[in-house]
Amino acid sequence: MNRIPATFYVNGVRRDLLVDANALLFEVLSDDLGVSGVHKNCDRGDCGVCTVLLDDEPVLSCLMLALEARDRQITTIEGLAKGQKLHPLQRHFVEEGAIQCGYCTPAMILTAKALLNACPHPSAEDVKEGLSGTLCRCTGYNKIITAVLAAAKESE
C-alpha cells in the first residue's frame, strides 16, 4: 500500500512519518509512535477510552484517520505533566481516588481538560455532561466528578 509522508505534532514534538492512507490515529500513536497512554476498547466510537486532543478538542482516535491529524497538535496524556509535576487534573484524580483500573483515566483527564478550557467553572451537572462520552466501569464516576471540580476550583 502507498505510504504517505505526514507530519504530526505530538505533545509539542514534531514527528515526521510515512503512514498508510487508511491508518487510524490510534494505530499511528500506539504502534508507530509508542504512545502507551492511548487506550482502545470498542473501535467504533462507543466507549471513548481512545480519546486524545486534536488542537485542544477531544477526538476519538479509533475513528479518525491519522492523515486527518496531519500538521495538527495532538495531545495525549503523556503531554500533561511537566517533568515530575503533575497537571492539576492528574493530581486531583490521584488524590481523590478517582483512578481504579485506570484504563479510562487518560481519556477522562483529557476530556476534562477540554471541558475546563471551554467551561472553567463547571457545575457537577456540567461535568457529568462533559464526560458522558467516556465510559468508566470501575469508579461510579463520583470521585471523577469531585476531582474535576477540585481542579477547576484550584485554577480560580
Binding site: S30, D31, G34, V35, S36, G37, V38, H39, K40, N41, C42, D43, R44, D46, C47, V49, T76, I77, E78, L80, A81, L86, Q90, R91, F93, V94, E95, E96, G97, A98, I99, Q100, C101, G102, Y103, C104, T105, P106, I109, V127, K128, E129, L131, S132, L135, C136, R137, C138, T139, G140, Y141, N142, K143, I144, I145
Partner: protein
C-alpha cells in the same frame, strides 16, 4: 469507637495511581515487545459441530505469517479455564480441550495464527480450511433437558451433570412451612451479566530457552500458572505469569482467556505473541457472569414474623463449558444462609449445558442471585403480615456467633442494625415508606440486606504469603500476589505494614504481579484481598518488628520486653534517652562491619479460619412512570459494615463503582443470546448499555466502622459487596410505588409496564 491509628484509616493515594494518571502504566493491551506478533483466533461458525479436518497449509504460506496452530499442534489434555478448580480437594468439572475435535458454541476455538500485523493475521484466518460435521444445538435450559436434546458433553448424557444436589440443608422444612402463617415465593430469572471492563481480554506470551512467560490479566496468577503448565504439558517451573495492570477484572480475570493459545503460538513462532480480543469477540467469548438461569424459592414466616423456612432450587445455565456455573449456584445457596435466622433450610442446585458461551465469574458471584430473589420474597412475606421491612430485618437477622455460610462457620461481627438505622434516617424512610401514590409518576422506597464473606475459607483452599524485605535505609519492599485489577488493595496492604512498623506509607514499596518473585496466593476473588492478604501482611510485619526489637535489644543491651517501637524509633520504656532508630538497625544489618550482617526479611503464610461477614443495607428511592414503565432511581444509599476502612477512599470507590454495576444488573444490562445460534447479539456498548456519567443517579456510600475481632486492624471485606442490593431494593421500592412484584431481571420498562398493566387488569 475504634481507636485512631496513624496510617490505617487515612485516605492515601494509591501507589499505582501516578503511573495510571500519566499514561505510563502498562497493560497487556498496551505492551509492544520487540518483534511481537499479532495473534488471532479462528472461531467456530457453528454452535455445535464435530471438527472433521483442519488444513492450514495455505495460511502458513502467506507472507507475514509466523505460525498457525490447531489441534495437531497440541497435546490433547482435558482442562478448564476455571483455574479455581485447584481450590477444591477433588477439583471442579474439567471439560475443555484446547482446539479439540468438537466445538460447542459459535465462537469456540478451532485454530489460531500469529502474523506481523492484524490485516495479515485476519487474511490468514480466512485461508484456513475447516470441515465441520454440524450437530443439532440447544440454547436454553428447558430445551437442553428435553427428552431428545442433543448431547453436548458425552459424559453428561442428560446435559445436566449437576442435578438437584441438596446443599446446605438443615431442620425440617416441610414442618416449618406447615407452621408458617404466610408463604411467599415463585420462579425467578436473572441475567448473564457481562463484566465489561474497559480493556478487552488481552495477553502476551513469549517462549525462550525452554521457559514460557505469559503476561496475563489473571486475578489468580499462581493458579493460572499451574493450569497453563498442565494444558501445555510443561513443568510448572518453566511457566511464569506476569500481571501488568488489568483494565478491570470484576471476575473476568478469574478464568483464563487466550493465554494457552498465545503460548502455543509463541512456542511455534519463536517470537512474542499478543492476543487482544476485539470488543465483540470479548462479549461473545469471554466467560460471562455465572449464569443462574432460573430460581425457585419459597419462604415461610410465622404470624409474629419469625422466619420459619427457606426453600430454594438454583438452576444454572452453564453454556458450553461448566467453568463456574455450578459453583456460582453453590455460593448463591451458601449466601442465603447468613442474613436471617431460619428454623429450617432446604436448598438444592442444578447446572445444565447449552450451546452458548460458558459462565465464568463476575463480582458478586452467586450473591447477586441470592440477594435479589431472597430479599424480594422476604419483602413480599413481610408485606403480607403488614410489618415494616426495616423493623423485621432489625429483629430477625443472625448475629455474632450465628451461622455463617458453611456449617463450621460462625459470624465474628455484625453491624447490620447500625447500617439499617443510618440508611433509614438518610433516605427518610418514616416519611416516605408506604405512602399512597397517585398520578402518572409514583414514588416509593425499598430496602434490602445481605451478609457476604471475607475470603474463601473455610470451604476452599485459602491462603496468602507476604514477604517484607528491608533496605539499608529502613524502608521495605512488600511482596504479595493479588490480582491487579484496579481494586486498590496494594495501597491498603502497604498501610497495614506501615502501621505495624510505625513508618510512613511511602516507605513500603509493594511489588506484585510476577509468579517468579511473589509467594503463592490464591489471588483476587471472594472479596479476600484486605482481609486475607492483609492478615498475611500483618503477620509478616509483626515478625519483622520482632526482628528489629531483637536486634535493638542486642545493641542496647536490654531485653526485648523493655522496648517499644514508636515513629520508627525503638526505645527503652525505662529510659527515653536509650534508643535506636529502625533506620540505624537496618543499615547496620546490611552495611555493618562487625561480621553480623543479616538483612531483615520477614515472611508469613496465613490461612484464615474465621468467617467475618461484611453486612450491608441498601436503600433505593424510585419514581415509576406508570405510562411508560420507566423506573428512575432518585436516590441510592449503600450503608456498609466494613469493620474498619484501611483506606476509606478506596472502600467508597469500590462501593460507588459497584452501585453502577448493580443498577445495570437491576435495570438495563441485558445480554441477549440468539435462540437460533446462541450468539450474543448484544456484542457492543451500543447494544449492551452500561452506566455513563449522565445516567448516574444521586448515589452515596456510607461506612460503618465497628471493628471485627479477626480482621487486620478490624477490617472486613468490600470488593464485591457493593452491588448485591440494587436489584432487590429497587424491586421493593417499585412495589412500594406501584404495588407490583417483579421476578425477572433486568427490570426493563417493558417488564415493568407489563406488570403494571397485568395488575390493573386484575391478572
Amino acid at each position: 469507637m475504634l481507636e485512631t491509628l496513624n496510617v490505617v484509616g487515612a485516605r492515601m493515594p494509591l501507589p499505582e495511581a501516578y503511573e495510571k494518571a500519566t499514561g505510563r502504566a502498562t497493560y497487556c493491551s498496551t505492551m509492544r515487545l520487540p518483534g511481537m506478533l499479532v495473534g488471532k483466533v479462528l472461531r467456530s461458525p457453528h454452535p455445535h459441530a464435530r471438527v472433521a479436518k483442519v488444513d492450514y497449509s495455505k495460511a502458513e504460506s502467506l507472507p507475514g505469517v509466523a505460525a498457525v496452530v490447531s489441534g495437531q499442534d497440541v497435546k490433547s489434555k482435558v482442562y478448564t479455564k476455571n483455574v479455581m478448580t485447584y481450590q477444591l480437594p477433588g477439583g471442579e468439572i474439567q471439560d475443555m480441550t484446547l482446539f479439540g475435535d468438537r466445538v460447542r458454541y459459535k465462537g469456540d476455538e478451532v485454530a489460531a495464527v500469529a502474523a506481523v500485523d492484524e490485516p495479515t493475521a485476519r487474511r490468514a484466518l480466512s485461508l484456513i480450511e475447516v470441515e465441520y460435521e454440524v450437530l443439532p444445538a440447544v440454547f436454553t435450559v428447558d430445551d437442553a433437558i428435553a427428552e431428545d436434546a442433543p448431547v453436548i458433553h458425552d459424559f453428561a448424557p442428560d446435559n445436566t451433570p449437576v442435578s438437584a444436589v441438596p446443599t446446605f440443608c438443615y431442620g425440617d422444612a416441610a414442618k416449618a412451612f406447615e407452621e408458617s402463617a404466610v408463604v411467599a415465593g415463585g420462579w425467578y430469572t436473572t441475567s448473564k451479566q457481562i463484566q465489561a471492563g474497559m480493556e478487552s481480554a488481552a495477553c502476551v506470551a513469549d517462549y525462550q530457552h525452554g521457559k514460557l512467560t505469559v503476561w496475563s490479566q489473571s486475578q489468580l496468577p499462581h493458579m493460572a500458572k499451574r493450569m497453563l503448565a498442565h494444558v501445555l504439558d510443561l513443568p510448572e517451573a518453566d511457566v511464569r505469569v506476569i500481571q501488568p495492570y488489568a483494565g478491570a477484572g470484576f471476575g473476568a480475570g478469574c478464568d483464563l482467556n487466550a493465554e494457552p493459545i498465545a503460548a502455543v503460538l509463541a512456542m511455534k513462532a519463536g517470537a512474542p505473541v499478543q492476543v487482544w480480543y476485539s470488543r465483540d469477540e470479548d462479549f461473545n467469548n469471554r466467560l460471562t457472569r455465572e449464569h443462574v438461569a432460573k430460581v425457585h424459592m419459597r419462604v415461610g414466616l410465622a404470624a409474629d414474623g419469625t422466619p420459619k423456612a427457606l426453600e430454594a432450587h438454583y438452576w444454572g445455565d452453564a453454556g458450553s463449558y461448566m467453568c463456574k456455573t455450578a459453583s456460582g449456584c453453590g455460593v448463591a445457596l451458601a449466601s442465603n444462609i447468613t442474613p436471617y435466622e431460619w428454623e429450617a433450610m432446604d436448598q438444592k442446585l442444578s447446572a445444565t449445558y447449552t450451546n452458548h458461551v460458558g459462565g465464568g465469574a463476575m463480582r458478586g458471584f452467586g450473591g447477586m442471585q441470592s440477594s435479589f430473589v431472597r430479599e424480594t420474597i422476604v419483602d413480599e412475606a413481610i408485606a403480607q403480615l403488614g410489618m415494616d421491612p426495616i423493623e423485621w430485618r432489625m429483629k430477625h437477622h443472625r448475629n455474632v456467633g450465628g451461622l455463617g455460610w458453611f456449617p463450621s462457620a460462625r459470624i465474628t461481627s455484625c453491624a447490620l442494625e447500625e447500617c439499617l438505622t443510618i440508611g433509614a434516617e438518610r433516605i427518610g424512610w418514616k416519611e416516605k415508606w408506604n405512602k399512597p401514590q397517585s398520578g402518572t409518576k409514583r414514588r416509593g422506597v425499598g430496602v434490602a440486606c445481605m451478609a457476604w464473606l471475607s475470603g474463601a475459607q473455610p470451604m476452599l483452599l485459602e491462603h496468602s504469603n507476604a514477604t517484607l524485605k528491608f533496605n539499608a535505609d529502613g524502608s521495605a519492599t512488600l511482596l504479595v500476589s493479588p490480582g491487579r485489577v484496579g481494586q486498590g488493595v496494594e495501597g491498603a496492604l502497604a498501610q497495614i505494614a506501615a502501621e505495624v512498623l510505625t513508618i510512613p506509607y511511602e516507605r513500603i514499596n509493594v511489588i506484585a504481579g510476577d509468579t517468579d518473585i511473589t509467594g503463592f496466593d490464591i489471588g483476587t476473588h471472594a472479596s479476600r484481598g484486605v482481609y486475607c492478604i492483609g492478615k498475611a501482611v500483618l503477620a509478616a510485619a509483626t515478625e519483622a518488628k520482632e526482628q528489629f526489637l531483637q536486634r535493638a535489644a542486642e545493641k542496647l543491651g536490654l531485653s526485648n520486653d523493655t522496648l517499644v517501637l514508636e515513629d520508627g524509633v525503638i526505645s527503652s520504656t525505662a529510659d527515653q534517652n536509650c534508643f535506636v532508630t529502625l533506620e540505624e538497625i537496618a543499615l547496620g544489618l546490611i552495611y555493618g562491619f562487625e561480621h553480623d550482617c543479616n538483612q531483615i526479611v520477614a515472611h508469613a503464610t496465613v490461612e484464615p479460619e474465621d468467617f467475618a461477614p461484611p453486612w450491608q443495607a441498601g436503600f433505593a428511592e424510585v419514581e415509576v412512570d406508570i405510562e411508560t414503565g420507566v423506573v428512575e432511581v432518585v436516590k441510592w444509599i449503600t450503608v456498609h459494615d466494613i469493620g474498619r476502612a484501611i483506606n476509606p477512599s478506596t472502600v467508597e470507590g469500590q462501593l460507588e463503582g459497584a452501585t453502577c454495576q448493580g443498577m445495570g444488573f437491576a435495570l438495563f444490562e441485558d445480554p441477549v443470546i440468539s435462540l437460533s445460534d446462541g450468539y450474543m447479539l448484544t456484542d457492543g456498548f451500543d447494544k449492551y448499555k452500561i452506566m455513563s456519567s449522565v445516567d448516574l443517579p444521586d448515589h452515596e456510600a456510607i461506612l460503618v466502622e465497628m471493628g471485627d475481632p479477626s480482621g487486620p486492624f478490624g477490617a472486613k471485606s468490600v470488593g464485591e459487596a457493593g452491588l448485591f442490593l440494587q436489584a432487590p431494593a429497587i424491586a421493593n421500592a417499585i412495589y412500594d410505588a406501584v404495588g407490583i412484584r417483579l421476578r425477572d431481571l433486568p427490570m426493563t420498562p417493558e417488564r415493568v409496564l407489563a406488570a403494571i398493566q397485568a395488575k390493573e387488569a386484575g391478572v
